[in-house]
């Protein structure tokens, strides 16, 4: 896993998906992750909206990185992010009113999503445009992936469907399955995310154990 060579563009893109997944590894952007992952459609639309804001903001921050004075950089980043969120807030109801009503205030709250400010500050302000865009895209898709992980579990157990209220809706279990109402309510969000974290921790612990058995030479 440890890369001896300088990270290529592909690595910048891929790290957001798994190694540095913003939700499962870095525990950022928890609020939207929990709030709008009750159905797959909500999770997908939220993930894509956040990805759009993330990529656009990081491109702009990276372009302007030599012009922004250091003292006011955070305020500048927030204004840049808020601008793109406002764009999204007006585009989503134009495309689909149902999605807009489901996401509610959480579209506006993309502004305070710490993933976006985090990437702008930690990566886009120090790297070129292409790299920043790839990094942002990777992080955004990693965020979408995490939302989908939660959305699939919560919708399948809570409604017994996938892709509810869309033409692709289908039933997961037999029709006699009694949906667990708690999964679509707030507690379900916490418990599902906790369970996913548990699962990923367990996998990580297992792989670490097997690799440490094989590699005994130098400790990291």
């Amino acid at each position: 896993m440890a890369n001896a060579h300088a990270p290529s563009n592909m690595d910048e893109f891929l790290k957001g998906l798994w190694d540095e997944n913003p939700v499962f590894v870095m525990l950022l952007g928890m609020c939207p992750t929990l709030a709008v992952s009750n159905t797959v459609m909500n999770a997908l639309s939220m993930g894509l909206a956040a990805t759009f804001v993330l990529v656009m903001s990081c491109i702009l921050v990276s372009l302007l990185r030599n012009f922004i004075p250091k003292q006011v950089r955070i305020a500048t980043y927030i204004v840049i992010i808020a601008t793109f969120v406002t764009v999204v807030e007006y585009v989503i109801p134009a495309v689909s009113l149902a999605v807009y009503n489901n996401l509610g205030a959480f579209i506006a709250l993309i502004v305070v999503n710490c993933i976006i400010l985090g990437r702008a500050e930690a990566f886009a302000s120090k790297n070129g445009v292409a790299k920043s865009a790839l990094d942002a895209l990777g992080m955004g898709l990693g965020f979408t992936f995490a939302l989908l992980c939660l959305g699939v579990v919560r919708e399948a157990l809570g409604f017994n469907t996938l892709f509810r209220d869309t033409p692709w809706q289908f039933t997961v279990f037999s029709p006699r399955f009694e949906p667990w109402a708690v999964m679509i309510l707030p507690p379900g969000g916490f418990i599902t995310l906790g369970a996913w974290l548990l699962f990923f921790n367990w996998i990580k612990k297992r792989t670490k154990r097997t690799t440490s058995d094989e590699v005994t030479a130098h400790g990291s």
Binding site: A35, A75, T83, T86, F190
Partner: protein
């Protein structure tokens, strides 16, 4: 109870629709600073304070924006106002109560990125509350946040002593406990009547 009365708005924001446990706002500080009861209550106090100030500011800004007919600037204005309100509160406390300033420490600037504050400003606009209702809403939300944070901190202090499997340690356990806590808060749902 009348849904527009101040008492109902307070109870609603504080318990029935608790910002942290049923609306998922402010999860980051909820997970981040809920390790000790003492820091949790301090963070709670700081949040109540900033919520009151930014709620008042947001009310004024919104009235101004509607008058000028530029509502699309709302989000940018709110976030700028909240950031400056936090800064202002920080300077104010530093000047008049250095002891409190030291007690709050790093938590004060961190509140800027707390989505509960922006959420509060957006919700009070959406619900079209008047000035007093806004204050009751802000106070309720702040108190609710403090209650959730303190209960969680108490639970986590006890959990530190528990012998749990390695994989569960850390965020996973906290989230599952938060889920059960959230389940308990659902019991308040009937309180509004």
């Amino acid at each position: 109870m009348d849904p527009d009365s101040l008492g109902y708005i307070f109870i609603n924001a504080c318990l029935i629709n608790n910002f942290v446990l049923s609306m998922f706002l402010g999860i980051c500080p909820f997970l981040g600073v809920s390790a000790k009861i003492e820091t949790a209550t301090r963070m709670g106090l700081a949040v109540i304070f900033v919520m009151l100030v930014s709620s008042m500011c947001a009310y004024g800004i919104n009235a101004l924006l509607i008058k000028l007919n530029v509502e699309f600037l709302r989000l940018i204005c709110y976030i700028a106002v909240i950031a400056s309100a936090v800064q202002l509160v920080e300077m104010f406390i530093k000047r008049f109560s250095p002891a409190l300033f030291r007690a709050l420490g790093i938590f004060l600037p961190l509140i800027t990125t707390n989505c509960a504050i922006l959420g509060l400003a957006l919700f009070q606009t959406q619900k079209q509350y008047n000035f007093l209702q806004c204050l009751a809403y802000a106070l309720g939300a702040g108190v609710g946040f403090t209650i959730a944070l303190t209960i969680m901190a108490g639970l986590r202090e006890q959990l530190d002593l528990a012998d749990v499997p390695d994989a569960v340690k850390g965020a996973a356990l906290t989230l599952i406990v938060a889920g059960i806590l959230s389940l308990a808060f659902m019991g308040f749902a009937g309180l509004g009547g």
